[in-house]
Symmetry: C2
Subunit: 197 residues, 2 copies
DNA sequence: GCAGACTCTGACCGATCGGTCAATTAGCGT
DNA sequence: ACGCTAATTGACCGATCGGTCAGAGTCTGC
């Protein structure tokens, strides 16, 4: 085995397979994606997929684990530095993560129910609940829950499935999208601060 | 054949099958749902499903067609009565439809890309584009697109997958949800009217 | 150049997929 | 009670599913 960390064949193949798998999982669903199709997309044989990953479930776990870890890290930083950490910063970083891991987020949000037995999905569930608490700051009214849910689900939808509605070449760049998302999501989570609770 | 319109066996069975199918399509995806499982859920044999519907695709079409028709009707009424029709009313009626047809909306929004060859999905695509135009009123800035996408996708997420985050019995009733959605979505689509375009 | 590990693949397995079909059962007009 | 139609079903089909396995190809340290 090469002691050098430079892209060994193993790492490169595994990355290609994870990328191809995530794309399929996000578009046709986990159950609707076949190992054969993932292998074809990545340019390998079906057997090779099961050489790098013990099972279809293990492949999904490996594919979305980086996204979950990213959210856990951001959340940890925000919760530990309770003083300096402003809520606006948290929103900005979460938006960055949504853009970076859009496919993984989409898979989790739209199929998390049917995949709840997978450990990494359970981890993501915990992270989302903690994120909701951090964002809503102890106020757990129905309004706050709705605002959080719309912001999260809406952003995830916009970044994946919603792209099919953008007419041809009108779809905004990632930078435009990041800017708009940061502003609008912050606005959604911070209502006009009406005197009522 | 009974001349009476009172629930003939045919209609009742077809309804049960459509309902069971829609639930599965929304949770595990169209490709991930088997006719066998739909039949089991509804209490029929797999052959019976294919007696009532020509194919798996035909079953999906029949199951989400009422939702598409509902959206087309609301849109038609709004666009024809251009004078009296206020935008707030449109939002209210769309929210009602989202609540009534939440599973169909979820299927369309999360799997519309991979099902775009089905005629009813194409119809729904047209309807959504027209809805976006009606809601954004000719202003098609990136911000407006993002606001519309977040509102639509967020509401759909909240009404289906998002339910798994509500702790136990804390999840709000449909009436609470309808109320919150109407207010918050109207607020999202009508930003603080900053002087900038 | 040889040995041993690493990577990749085709052949194969039982199970399940969507779909067809002939036969059986249930329901209704007469 | 009879006969016709509509409703339902089990047996069956080829294809594909996730997964196993033994072997071929490839690379590296010595």
């Amino acid at each position: 085995m090469p002691t050098d960390a430079r892209t060994t064949s193993r790492v490169r193949a595994a990355d290609e397979l994870k990328h191809a798998a995530l794309e399929q999982f996000a578009t046709v669903g986990f159950a609707g994606t076949s190992l054969q199709h993932i292998a074809d997309e990545a340019g390998y044989a079906k057997s090779s997929v099961l050489y790098h990953f013990a099972s279809k479930e293990a492949l999904l776990e490996a594919a979305i684990e980086p996204a979950v870890e990213g959210f856990e890290d951001v959340l940890e930083v925000f919760l530990s530095a309770r003083r300096s950490g402003r809520r606006g910063e948290l929103v900005d970083r979460v938006v960055d993560l949504l853009l970076e891991h859009r496919e993984a987020v989409h898979v989790f949000l739209t199929q998390g129910q049917s995949l709840s037995e997978l450990p990494v999905i359970a981890r993501a569930n915990v992270a989302v609940r903690r994120l909701a608490s951090a964002v809503c700051e102890e106020r757990e009214s129905v309004d706050d829950q709705v605002r959080f849910g719309i912001a999260l689900g809406g952003a995830a939808f916009l970044l994946t499935a919603g792209r099919s509605f953008a007419d041809e070449s009108t779809l905004p760049s990632d930078d435009e999208m990041r800017d708009a998302l940061r502003r609008i999501i912050a606005e959604i989570l911070t209502p006009a601060r009406t005197p009522s609770n």
